[in-house]
Amino acid sequence: MQNKYLINFAIKLLLKDKSSHLFSMFIFVFIVFVFSSVLFISSSIKYDLKQAINTQKSIIIYNQKAGYITQIDDSILDDILQINGVSNVYGKIDGYYYFINEKKYLHLVGDENIEEESMIIGNSIEKLFNKYYYKEFFNFYSNGEKYKINIQKRFKNNSNIISNNIILLNNTVASEILGLSEDEYSFLEVEVPNNTEIDYIANTIQEKYPSLIIKTKEQSISDMENLFYYKGGIFMIMYIVVLISFFILLYKQISSVNSWQKKQIAILRSFGYSINNIIQIKFIQNFLVAFFSYIFAVCLAYIFVFVFDAPLLKNIFIGINNQNINFTPIIDINILVLLFLFTVVPFLLSIIIPSWKTAVKDISESIK
């Protein structure tokens, strides 16, 4: 019962002293907003990339010439199939078509389930085609030939970073547009049912064909993460800026237990508030400020990233050529909880410790 009155009283004091908490709230919201936006974007991109890699087979084989990835012919296909533990080998068509009007490369992916004169396109591609009035079909030009391909359907509106920018075509048509001959593929996919044998088989292939690039699914995930974290430098700077802001906030919080707040504590102590009561009041007030700021900032970040597609921040993450993608809404609860602990707890301590120090002082001295 007493707690109910104490909570009400703490809230009353808080509401009457809004202005001194507004600055703290603003900085706190900014810090949590930046952190959670970056976390939302990175979780979303990582999720999409991992999903894409997870659909791949166990081992990918690329050919290379002079350090560049190049087409691979099917001559080694049977050879690889003979290796114990390999259940199947697939030739994949995957490459880039140069769209001269836009001076931009379009990502073509072969799919044997698609009819010859049809294609499925991503959100970003659709917008690009619309810009040149290709509403129903698109003409690809390759080796002097024109390939009129109908737009069969679009990926659903919430295209992710992978599906947003690709064109799915029939394997044969994709081969022809990309200038590959019948026995050539962009890369090979090797299916190994037993996961424990993947590394061994990858090594065996590598030993047999030292000039090929062999990548297991695990390596692909690791490469993806490395590629993704090259942006880490930029974010380290951002994190440092945000951390500095946070420490400024903490310093402000500590110094904001100013003379009149000290006097307020002494007044409350003079009519019987215990040290615990004072800490409870300060905890309630600042927990409310921090908690609601945190929730507000996380919601703001969610809207910023998943509704408005993170303008400005998106460029840093995925480049200016991927402006039409939508981030898949992925929320990593563990990270949000960690963020909560690393922001709210120091924030609370920064006010409770100086308040406690004031509360334990001689009341008649503090009240002067």
Binding site: Q2, F9, G272, D362, I363
Partner: protein, 216 residues
């Protein structure tokens, strides 16, 4: 009721109180007189258990309040002491009612709303209950401070220079409040150097304090 024995209080190297011995009976109105810095406020804060003595003891209703741990001294202050400060020490941003309710927040009293209303009516500040304290006049602030001091019906009222921030008219009104306290048989200890308290019939005793010592 209040027994003070060999009480000393030293701040750093300054001895604010020297060997104070004093007995105050229930219902007495005692006026501590002395110049600023003589130790009156220090003595009041020790009686209210807001400070701990350097040596000696303060006993109130057979409880050694000078030795109470913080939780118990808080309960003692909340239940037994009504403190009226010179500068009122109100929470300026809150309303009159919220200020007077503040001691009730941590109290175990059941009829809090009723106590609040009684105190406001007694102090004649009920009509201003929703007014923000910073908008009040000096006299109104003092009535608010009085209401806060009496809201839990304490048996001891301590008033530290209660008329120092008031004009003569409001100071005289405070004397009327003292008469009420007398009727209610509350023990009242006032520290003042205001001559308005001189030769008042309702005052049981005048105690002169000089350089931290009681003088005749």
């Amino acid at each position: 009721m209040i027994k003070i024995k060999n009480l000393n209080k030293t701040y750093d190297n300054f001895q604010a109180l020297k060997d104070i011995n004093l007995h105050i009976k229930k219902g007495e109105i005692v006026v501590l007189k002395g110049v600023s810095g003589s130790g009156k406020s220090t003595l009041l804060s020790l009686i209210a258990s807001m400070s701990k003595p350097s040596s000696g003891s303060v006993e109130v209703n057979n409880i050694l309040v000078s030795k109470l741990p913080d939780v118990h001294s808080c309960k003692y202050r909340n239940e037994n002491i009504g403190y009226i400060f010179q500068s009122f020490n109100l929470l300026e941003q809150l309303s009159v009612a919220d200020n007077i309710f503040a001691p009730l927040v941590i109290s175990e009293a059941k009829n809090k709303q009723e106590l609040l209303e009684i105190a406001m009516k007694k102090a004649n500040i009920y009509h201003k209950k929703d007014e923000i304290v910073s908008n009040l006049s000096g006299g109104e602030k003092q009535r608010c401070a009085i209401a806060r001091a009496i809201v839990l019906n304490p048996n001891i009222i301590i008033a530290d220079e209660p008329t120092a921030s008031l004009d003569k008219q409001n100071s005289l009104k405070f004397i009327e409040v003292l008469k009420e306290f007398k009727k209610e048989k509350r023990t009242v200890i006032i520290s003042t150097h205001d001559s308005i308290f001189d030769n008042l019939d309702l005052v049981s005793r005048y105690i002169n304090i000089q350089d931290g010592q009681i003088v005749d």
